[in-house]
Amino acid sequence: MRDFVAHVRRHLSRRDVPEDRFDEIVEELAAELESRYTTLLERGASDEEAWSAAAAQVPSWSSFARELASATGAPPPQKQRPSRLRMSLGLDRWLHDLKLAIRILRKDRGFTVTALATLTICLGGHAAILAGVNGVLFHPLRIPEADRVLLMANQYPAVEKRWGTVSAPPDYDDRLRHVTVMEEQALYNYSGVTLEIAGVPTRALGIVGTPSLLRLLRARPAHGRLFVDSEATPGNEQSIILSDRLFRELYNGDPAAVGRTVRVSGRELTIVGVLPRDFTFGGPDVRFWTPLALTERQRSDDARHSNGWTSIGRLNPGATIEQVRAQLKALDAVNLERTTPKLKPILINTGFYTSVEPLADVVVRDVQGPLSMLWGASIVVLVIGLGNLGNLAFARSRTRLSELGTRLAIGAGRFDVIRQQLVEGVLIGGLGAGAALAVGVSILSTLRRRELVTNTAIQIDLTVVGITIGLGIVAGVIVGLVSASPLFTMRLSSILHDGTRSRTGGRAVRATRRTLVVAQMACSFMLLVGAGLLWVSVRNLLNVNYGFALDNVITAGVNLPQPRYAADEDARSLVNRSLDSIRRLPGVVAAGATTVVPLRGFYQSGVIIAEGYVPKPGEPAVATVRSTVTPGYFEAAGTALVRGRYFDDRDTAESTRSVIVDESLARRFWRDEDPIGRRVFRPANAKELESTGPDTPWLTVVGVVRDAQLRGPLVTDFGTNGTVYFPYAVTAPRDFGYVIRTAGDPAALVPDIRSALSQVDRELPLFDIRTMSQRSELTLLSRTSTMQLATLFAAVAVFLSAIGLYGVLAYLVTQRSREIGVRLAVGSAPREIVALVLREGLGLAVGGVLLGVVGALSLGRLVASQLYGVTPTNPWVMVLMTLMLAAVATLACIVPARRAANVDVMKILSAP
């Protein structure tokens, strides 16, 4: 017997028929089928045939089910069910809200545009600064586990006011032996060479370091290999590793470059490897790496304290910086014991010790101040903008009360409406963030095109995108919540009964809005004061008397390659001939050469001993800037002579014993006495420092010049000790620069100067050719840029605050229009109404200024490090900014005030 009930149940689902009838229908259908089956059996059909025929009574169960469903009234089985996922997340509701939000926002164009514009400006500026902060401050060293890399340096706190960052070669061996908690250590320096790029002899920057350096940095070669230790023995340094940039410049990215040779400053070096594109340690200008081979002399005690090298190390896993500090302290003590008795007190007097700190901290030190300041300013602007958004949303919520009421009346739940407002808000926030990112990207690309930003790490990357979108969403949620605030604070009945005429939301709300505007004004004021102080600083810097001429002077750098200028005589000859050649050019007033081109950023320093000068007990040795110059330099640079003479033909032989000092140094050693004829000595190393006697090769002071800010006005370490000038002929340094004074525009003479030089030596490249005024601009570039950006932020902040003030006043006027109407009706002059509104508005502004002054006074400390020649509490700046803010606030008040005065009295009073 066949089971027809089971058969029917198998094909018919409970959903196809009403629940309560399912069993009955199954039974009925089964009976029906069975009847037919039985009848066929009785007629003689086989079991198979009868069964097939019976089953064929329902050719398609799906259409049968559909028919049954429509016949019995059960909902037809859905062909397309909404996806289970959407239903379980309730996404349907959110999608609906989203569509509704888009419609509403498009209708309410004024609000949407204002909100989007505010968000775009505030978030966009913030995103651009955040990209800078992220790239420069948070990831300054793009190497694995950068926080475990430490910098060790020799500090002489009693002598040098600034923090040292360099060490001497013997320190490398010492530290390898004594600082055992480091897994790897390295010593390196920047090196400038000449090589041919596209046929043009070009100055290139590279890093020369111990082979351990690239290992320490965990560099992975893109092609070839890293250095091995055997390549760093003196005499054996013939290998070079290219950076990706040089690899492309010279070989277009062809891996066959590995193994080829390249001519660097006259020497043939073999390429053993190429570094990948993202390896940017040392900066984007580093084009190559060469192994450092320290000579015996460099490793000996003679070279102690001849600082100029960078010493870094990577901590062992689990080791701490404190352990390194302790080991360095022990090392210093050991070395002190080994110091000769004559040198010991001198060393102790300098306060010498070895410091250790994370390398990343050192790298960001200089930019930290300005960047943090700008970041703070952009955040303040963002907060002000958010305040405006809040006020805007609040005002809108009140004007939309009737709409909200309608929605509640037709049955939407309170939370549905709140949810819808949130969706609106987040939509605005998300769109604003997106637009802001686009703005940020375009700002950065403009800055890059103008070469104001060269650091490749500054990008709108995922971090910046994530933070910006997050901020946008937060702003959106705030806007949404404020927009929905009537639903939280007001009774349903008041919403439904046309809430537009309700009070402005009560005392608390009014007070909140007012406090918000006062806070905004205060913040803008502080930004204004900050920008003003920076402006004054920059002006002060531009007016500094450098001690050398900024106009009509052109400078250029030169590097004499070792093989061709192996002998000092060759160098001297070249310098003399080239200067003669340059001087002969029409338009050249004076020309000279120097190792310290003013404002170029390179300088040398060293200790000077004055004959007969007895240092007070505990007084450290005198360290000064050392410059080596040819005759004609001072005349070209425009450094005035105070006493004695400049260098001249008497000083062109290597036997000359003359020196020139500046006023500061003269005052330091000889007070008011005549320095001319006095003698000084420059010890070449520590040993020479400790003993001076009749055999010491003393040098005689032949001239005194005015102080020159060779390193720019911003450095304050041992600048006060002065500068010593040595004649070029004595040491004939191969690395120097020309300083040329011209009659007219200095830049116009560049081609002539180039050809004059190439006539003397065709292969000698001139590089870093700039006029002195360009150099002074460059020196101040970060200051001027910071000031300009700060001014921009301050202006935006003031603008936004003004809008905020205007918004609050305008709304106030609307809400109090009845009261104003009454006043006008009983005889007040329109002028008095204007005064009323102005009083209200300016009262808020004054409150903002007062709060701002308090803020500026207390936070002034934060920007003090960025100021020059002005204190953070400068009263003139405060007064000026107060007047400015007051003027802007008055403007913001005028429109609402006039509108208040022109209120149509009849219309107001006759309104129900």
Binding site: I25, E28, A31, E32, A56, Q57, V58, S60, F64, A71
Partner: protein, 114 residues
């Protein structure tokens, strides 16, 4: 010759009439209704379970027929349907409608009464 689709639409239009008509004399169950229609039409109109039951349930939902279970000893219980008063009225209406319609079609299509 009539094509299957023509037949199908004709059948759809007359289905209710056919079913109601079988219940005029006495109550019947589904199988019985289908058998009678097949017999009286000389096999021209055949209802299978899939076609018959939706009509039965629809008529029941409309209130034209009403169904109840009948137990017979030793047998599976069956569901019988009978015409309600409303059903009878509907039957009469449909009969009239169809006669008028068929006459009109005859005249319009030039059919001879066979």
């Amino acid at each position: 010759m009539n094509t299957p689709t023509d037949e199908h639409s004709l059948k759809k239009g007359t289905a209710e009439l056919l079913v109601l008509a079988q219940l005029e004399d006495e109550p019947r169950h589904g199988y019985d209704i289908a058998t009678r229609i097949e017999q009286r039409s000389h096999g021209a109109v055949v209802f299978n379970v899939a076609s018959l039951y939706p009509i039965l349930y629809r008529l029941e939902a409309q209130g034209s027929i009403s169904g109840w279970w009948v137990e017979r000893a030793g047998q599976r219980r069956r569901r019988f349907y009978k015409l309600t008063a409303a059903g009878r009225k509907k039957l009469t209406q449909q009969r009239e409608t169809w006669s008028v319609f068929m006459a009109a079609v005859q005249r319009a299509a030039g059919l001879e009464y066979a």
